[in-house]
Structures are given as C-alpha cells and as structure tokens.
C-alpha cells in the first residue's frame, strides 16, 4: 500500500483520513411567493474515509445519499445549499469543501486526485464523440508528455479492465453496458487518483457482468491504493467490496462499522431489519419487511427520524436526536436503545 502511495510521500500524513466530513448539513431550499420550504436531505453527517479503503454508503431512495455525494463532489446548484459543516480533502486543505475552492484549484484536482464512476457512464462519455476524446479531455492535461506516449499509457490501462484498444475509436453507444462501465472505470483511474467517488457503478449491469466489474474496481483500487467512497443501495454489493460501511436513513447516518461486523452484528434497529429482510438462496424461513414508509424529508419526524417505524422506540426517541456514539472499537451507532444496552 505504501508503495502504491509513492506519488504522495507523506509518511506522517499516512494515518490521517483522506476525506473528513464534519457535521454536514445540505438542504434544498425553495421560496415560492414568500413561502419558504426546506428539505433537509443531509442533516448532520460526520464520517472519515481513510487512505486505501473502500468506504461504503448504503441507504434507500430519499435517504440523502445522492445529496451527500453531490456535496462532496462540489456539484452544488440551487436549490441545494450547504447550510453547515465542512468537507475536507487531504489534497485540498483549508477550503472546507470543493464548492468553496477556487476554480483553478478544482481544475487541478479533478480527475488527478478526485474522480468519479457513475451509474450511467453515458453521462461521463460524450455520446457524439469517440471514447478516445474523453481520455484526451480529462486525463491528458494531467498526464502530459507526448501524445503517442499518452496513447500507449491509455492502451495499457485499458488492458487492466480487459478492453481492446479498438474501444478508443468507438462511440459510447457502440459498446455494451458492461464495456462502457469498464471504459468509465479506466477513465476514472488512469491518473491514479487518491479518491474515487463511485455512485451505484454496477446497478445497471447484469449480475454476471456486475461481479466482473466489481472485481476490477477492487483490483485497480488495491493496485493504486486509492480511497473509494462506494455508494449503492444493494447490500450484496457492499458485502462483496467495501471495507467499512455506513448506513444512512432519512438524511443521517445511523450506523458505521467494518462491513463484516455490520453484517454479522448489526446494532441499529434499522440496520437489523434491513439485513434480516434480505432473502438468500437456500434459506426458506419467512422474512418480514419493515412496516411503515421512509419519512418525508420536508417534514421529518422529531427526534430520531426512525422512531415511527422502530420496534424499540421509547418516549425519548421522539424528542431528542441520538448522536453517533462509538459502542465498540470502530463501531458507531446513533440509537438510544443501543446506548442503554451498552451501558447496562
């Protein structure tokens, strides 16, 4: 791993997180004829992504995970606003987030230090230009050197994701979904960035292809030592690829631990029901879904946002907001009932 990080020879900084998010609040605010409405999509989220790890973020639709990664990637457009908190990248110190950094700084780090793999790679690849032009546009300014040499480097990198050099001359629509996603992966990793944001990168793929692409993401990540923020709603994918996992519910984190521990010993009632509801081939026991529905973030429940659906809810849960507390080494949970159990 240290070998892979040779590009950034800061031994003392090795132990520091590459990304730390502190108490982030990102709201959608609208104002129609004097009526102000706010959707508290991300409300007080704190976590850190270490060097060389794949950090998973799981959550359902409208849990705020997309807003969270938009904020981290600096893709903030009205009505989305960062209301509070800070986002600190180790390679972009002092600004408190990409959205506050000057344009030149953002240009410097994009693709070189921070890159993206999205669900629909059609959105990264220009549909009317050949795949090659994406590499030239995004990666060439950072890699430089002769064009011939650059092309050789691209071809060598494409071989890592088992793509033939002929894809460079193809248009995105000529590639299959899996090939396109692998091309996007090659594009995201060719500059050996320190940090990769992967937003549902395999959700649109068929299962067989999905497993293959996940293996490639893991392989390249091991080789380059990049940190990955891996967002998906699919718990099977998390179990397969992430090192640590955070569970998000209604705009807040509810639990965070090593992925194996989350699956073996989930503590938060939401995580528990989420994991126990997953069907497995070979197991015939009936599985119950969770009652109720995720809350409306324009008018979230008071206190713990999970309390209306929670089997362990008490008086206190509807009044106070539980904070993320470390209940075992590296295992953080935001739940009063779990706190009571730990103290007892």
């Amino acid at each position: 791993m240290t070998q892979a990080n040779a590009g950034q020879p800061h031994g003392d900084r090795e132990s520091q997180p590459l990304l730390s998010v502190r108490d982030l609040q990102a709201y959608y605010r609208t104002s129609h004829s004097g009526v102000r409405r706010g959707i508290r999509a991300v409300d007080g989220v704190s976590f850190a992504v270490r060097r060389g790890e794949i950090y998973g973020l799981a959550g359902e639709s409208s849990s705020g995970k997309t807003t969270l990664i938009k904020s981290i990637a600096g893709a903030i457009k009205p009505p989305l606003e960062i209301v509070g908190g800070s986002i600190e990248f180790a390679f972009l110190p002092g600004y408190g987030g990409l959205h506050r950094a000057p344009r030149a700084e953002v240009e410097r780090i994009r693709w070189r230090h921070l890159s993206y793999i999205m669900q629909g790679s059609m959105n990264v690849l220009n549909p009317v230009r050949r795949v090659k032009s994406a590499f030239v546009d995004f990666a060439y300014p950072h890699i430089g050197g002769g064009r011939k040499q650059f092309e050789q480097q691209v071809i060598a990198h494409l071989a890592r994701v088992r793509l033939d050099p002929s894809v460079l001359a193809a248009f995105p629509h000529e590639l299959s979904g899996g090939m396109r996603q692998r091309a996007a992966l090659a594009l995201a990793t060719i500059c050996r960035p320190g940090f990769i944001i992967a937003d549902e990168p395999t959700t649109a793929l068929d299962v067989v292809v999905q497993k293959e692409v996940l293996g490639m993401i893991r392989g390249i990540q091991r080789e380059t030592g990049s940190s990955v923020l891996f967002v998906t709603h699919d718990m099977g994918v998390h179990a397969h690829i992430t090192d640590r996992l955070a569970i998000m519910y209604a705009g807040r984190l509810v639990e965070e631990a090593a992925t194996a521990e989350i699956f073996r010993d989930p503590l938060h009632p939401y995580t528990k029901s989420l994991i126990s509801s997953l069907p497995r081939i070979g197991e015939d026991a009936p599985r119950a879904g969770l009652g109720g529905a995720p809350p409306n973030l324009a008018d979230p429940p008071s206190g713990c946002r999970f309390h209306p659906r929670c089997p362990l809810a008490s008086e206190m849960c509807s009044q106070e907001v539980p904070v993320m507390r470390e209940v075992a080494a590296g295992h953080r949970v935001a739940c009063f009932a779990v706190d009571r159990d730990v103290r007892a």
Partner: protein, 290 residues
C-alpha cells in the same frame, strides 16, 4: 373448460431491425413452452438478464405483443382470437399486469383513487355504483392499505412501496386468475421490498391467484416461487422446481447466474473478492467492439 389456465405452445417472437437495405431479424423469444394448471395457483418465476426475452414473453402473455409463431391459450381460448372490446375486457378480467416502476404506471396528475374507481367501474359496470367505494376499500385492504390512507393523494405523495401496493390493489379489482408482474420489486426500497414479495405469497395462498414473476433477482425468486424458468437469449435453458433448480443448477448458464449472486454476508475477515491483478494486467482475451 380446459384444465390449463395458461398454455404457451412453441411461442416465438422476432423483431426486424435496420432499414431497407440491411434488414436483420432479432429473435427475442424462441419456441417457449410452458403451462399453468387451472385451480392450482402457483408462482412461476421467469429469470433472465437484460436481452433474455423475459419481458417480451411477459408482454405476449399480457397480449400487449403478438407472437410471430406459436400459440398462447388462456383457459383454452387463443389470445389471437381477441379482436373486439368485449373479448379484450373478458381477457383483462382474467389476466392483470404489475409493472416495474409504479410512478410510471400512474398518471402523476391524477389522484390514485380515481384509477381504482375507474377500474372498478370498468369491470363491475355502473350497476353497483353505490358499493364502488366499499369495493375499492376491500381491494386496498387485501394489500394492507385502506381507502382512507390513499384518498386525495397524488402518486408522488406515496412511497414506491405504497404505490406498488395500490397498483396491485388495482389489479385485484378485476378479480384476475393470473397476475403477470414484470420486475415488480426492483424499484422498491429494500426495507419495503419484502412486504411486497410476501404480499404475492398471500395472493397465491388466500386469493388463489397464479403469478408470473419476471425478474433478474435469483434470491427473491428462490424465496417466493414454486417453479422457475431460466431464459438466455430468448430460449428457456432450464426449468423446474425453484428449490431444485437454484440449489443444484444443471445448465452451465444457471450455474453462472447462481455463482454471480452476491450474498449479503461477508464470509471471511477480508472482503470476499480476491482480485487477480495478474489476470488483469495480462488479459486473456480483451473484448473488442462489435
């Protein structure tokens, strides 16, 4: 009457692609045969990846697509004979669809109960108008909702899980014998998914409705289905008892699908992917563009 609810005989569908000069045909479904017995409700899962023809097959059963070869018999009568609105209504009485995205199945500008009332009027006629609300309420109760909960609501005001339940309630108003559900839970959040999946079991056991469950998800198929059909490139490659097929697959493709399912558990201390970096650097056969 026939003792078969649905008889699919050598059904095939080809699509033509290309223009005047370069015409090629794509075989979406290739000679598929299967039966559903009448009076013995079951859940049949049709499994396949994208492009396997599973949705085209489902659309043919729903009479939304006409087969280019073979015949589909429902209760002994050929779907090809449906020509006028009376026979179409009779068909819809027996077979109802559930689609993947409930937000696309409902008009966002209409309140959801309007759909339910319209559907009810369609199937019961104007005669029992006085019991309309009660009938709709009864259908909603079968899916764990009530008219009070959904009245005056627009689709966006309900969660995906609730709206999919409303879609199922709408289908139940026709008192169908068969429901064809195309990926009904893949858009539904994980915490709500199992309650919808369990609902299909209830429909089979309590209401005696047979269900054709079209999906790519082997785990939920294993959980709810009695029988399973695996499709690859338009053909059925393996079929049989769901437990037998998924526990001990015989066809290499079924085996491959089964192996690719990501288990929701971490088996060893390290994540259960072992990257073969060597394999990545020296590729066996790099993929070319078509």
């Amino acid at each position: 009457m026939s003792d078969l609810l649905l008889d699919v005989i050598e059904v095939g569908k080809t699509f033509a692609r290309g223009g005047l000069l370069s015409r090629e045909t794509v075989v979406a479904v290739n000679k598929v045969n299967f039966q559903l017995a009448a009076g013995r409700p079951e859940i049949l899962a049709i499994i396949g990846e994208s492009g396997s023809g599973k949705t085209t097959l489902a659309r043919m059963i729903l009479n939304m697509e006409t087969p280019t070869s073979g015949r589909l018999l429902l209760d002994g009568s050929d779907l090809a004979a449906i020509s006028d609105s009376a026979s179409r209504l009779a068909f819809m009485h027996k077979v109802q669809p559930i689609f993947q995205n409930p937000f696309e199945s409902f008009n966002p500008m209409k309140r959801v109960e309007r759909y339910l009332l319209m559907t009810r009027r369609r199937f019961a006629g104007a005669a029992g108008e006085s019991t309309a609300a009660a009938d709709v309420d009864a259908a909603l109760h079968k899916v764990g909702l009530s008219l009070k909960e959904v009245s005056d609501r627009y689709p966006h005001e309900l969660s995906g899980g609730q709206l999919q339940r409303v879609a199922i309630a709408r289908a139940l108003l026709a008192a169908p014998k068969l429901i064809v559900a195309d990926e009904p839970v893949s858009m539904i959040d994980a915490s709500l998914r199992m309650s919808i999946v369990n609902l299909f079991k209830t429909l089979r056991d309590d209401l005696g409705i047979s269900i054709i469950y079209v999906t790519h998800d082997l785990a939920t198929a294993y959980y709810i289905s009695d029988r399973i059909m695996i499709m690859q490139k338009g053909s059925v490659v393996e079929s049989g008892d769901a437990r037998t097929v998924l526990k001990a697959p015989r066809h290499p493709y079924t085996h491959q699908l089964r192996e690719a399912v990501l288990l929701p558990e971490v088996t060893s201390a390290a994540p259960n992917i072992t990257p073969s970096i060597n394999g990545l650097i020296s590729p066996g056969a790099p993929e070319r563009t078509a």
